[in-house]
Symmetry: C2
Subunit: 154 residues, 2 copies
Amino acid sequence: MPIQLAGKAAERGNSPAGDHCPVDRAMQLIGSRSTMLLMREAYYGTTRFDAFAARVGMTEAVTAKRLRELVAAGLLERRPYQEPGQRTRHEYALTERGLDLMPALFALGQWGRKHLPHDGTPMLTHDACGAPVRVELRCTEGHRPRPEELVITS
Amino acid sequence: MPIQLAGKAAERGNSPAGDHCPVDRAMQLIGSRSTMLLMREAYYGTTRFDAFAARVGMTEAVTAKRLRELVAAGLLERRPYQEPGQRTRHEYALTERGLDLMPALFALGQWGRKHLPHDGTPMLTHDACGAPVRVELRCTEGHRPRPEELVITS
DNA sequence: CGGCATCCTGTATGATACTG
DNA sequence: CAGTATCATACAGGATGCCG
């Protein structure tokens, strides 16, 4: 049974042909599968090139290209570091901009966990209270609006 | 300045090479730009083929293909309907599964709005109280964990 | 209006081999 | 370990034209 949002949306004007909405821009920049998986790994705590490539299961070529893009886009930062007695290495660390993407990625995972077949996969937990963490729509007054209560405003 | 999540993540085992995490599956199914934009339109209230194609600015061929995929994946439902005196038409209506994806798409838009250049774009509002709606991470106890308070558990 | 078929280009990704 | 280079395949998406 299909569901309708509050219908005020339909009254808005057309999107311009060349679509410049934030969703579109974001998808063009970071919307590839490999990019998303690399970000997932970054949230998991991965920082080194080899670990990214191995965990995501991508070739080094793709890994290198996407990591370069993510650094260029400011979601990751490439920093040299040196362990005592070792040669200089580089790590890829999350920036604030990269961290801000976490809800989007996590929301996607939340959807997949609910609607697609999957193996047992890790959950996010709030360490302070031990409760599971989810992504949700919430208005600044703290309410959780039902779909029918949402309106799109210009 | 880079940011680290709680480090317990790094202790987990490798992801299998063929990655079956929900994020990956979701990206493979609905991760294309055109798919996301079509879903955005569905949330805006668009239901007819022509409106989808025009608003997203895609060719009919791509629109048809993606809509077919979205129906097959259960995010949209294709239903015949008839206006008085008109021939039978079809509309594409959101299913619950499709509606569940809204936080993910909205979170992506929220990120884009904050971190990418964009024109003035519509906002989501909670009709009951008039307050703007955002996507956020929240634990089931109602807290909003800071990034350092998040741990990944198996 | 609501599509489908065909051709074409660009990108995403894998496989493999090589370098500092 | 951290990549680069090259080749090959698959899919995304635009352009165009046809159909009921």
